[in-house]
Amino acid sequence: MNATGAASIVGILDRLILVLMLAVFAAVLTAAMVMQYALGEIPCPLCLLQRVAMFGCCFGLIVQLRSDDSERGTGIALIFAVLLLVISVRQTLLDLFPRPGHEYIGSAVLGIHLPVWSVIIAVALLFGFAIRLALFGGTRNGVDTERGPLRSIAHLLGIYVIAICAINFLSVIAQCGLDQCHTSGYRLLQ
């Protein structure tokens, strides 16, 4: 195998990791929406901010998937991963040691509460980017992945993420209006 072929395989694997990360985030955000609409678990403000951080990670991944000569998307995703970690750790501490009268309400998935899942996801994303950079290094020039199926999958995932972001935006308007967000119900529907 010559150098060009090896570089192409590395480029494809790199893209595959990014697509998988984006798919995982899309699945997590979809699951959160299913829990909200199907199970009636209205998100608290910190939960909504964690969703914002996850969407920010998705934005970084989408930018990185479209770029061959820059790691800006990686940087954006890492910034939002750190934000997700900070918010979710704070909420996890509130879950473990609640202020009297403010116990955590919400169900668990596989025995783990959702803020803790957010911590796991944030750490996993940080590790994922670290491993990706360690294995594949930085940017590559001239790697032709433009016509591959990964590009189509990434494009469709990007559109899906935008769609669920729009749904979340409308849901926040219904829940909060222009005021504080409460978990007791949807403000505009009351």
């Binding site: 403000p45 910190l46 909504l48 901010l49 914002v52 951080a53 969407f55 920010g56 934005f59 989408i62 930018v63 954006i76 910034i79 939002f80 934000l83 900070v86 918010i87 704070r90 501490l93 509130l94 040691f97 202020r99 009297p100 990007g158 559109i159 993420v161 935008i162 972001c165 729009a166 979340n168 935006f169 926040v172 308007i173 909060c176 209006g177 222009l178 967000c181």
Partner: protein
Amino acid sequence: MMTAVFASLLLAFILDFAGLRRLAISCLFVSFVLCVGFFLWEVYSPDYGFRMPWLQL
């Protein structure tokens, strides 16, 4: 304020999809700043500040 956070976030996605990368990242930055500000406002307590004094080791 949460509406503003999601509005700027959605606008960032739409602008990026439309090919306006710099404008999209600017909107994303606005969303990030609003998110951080709202988080600090949400966890702040007039009695305890940002601390959690009931958390005893």
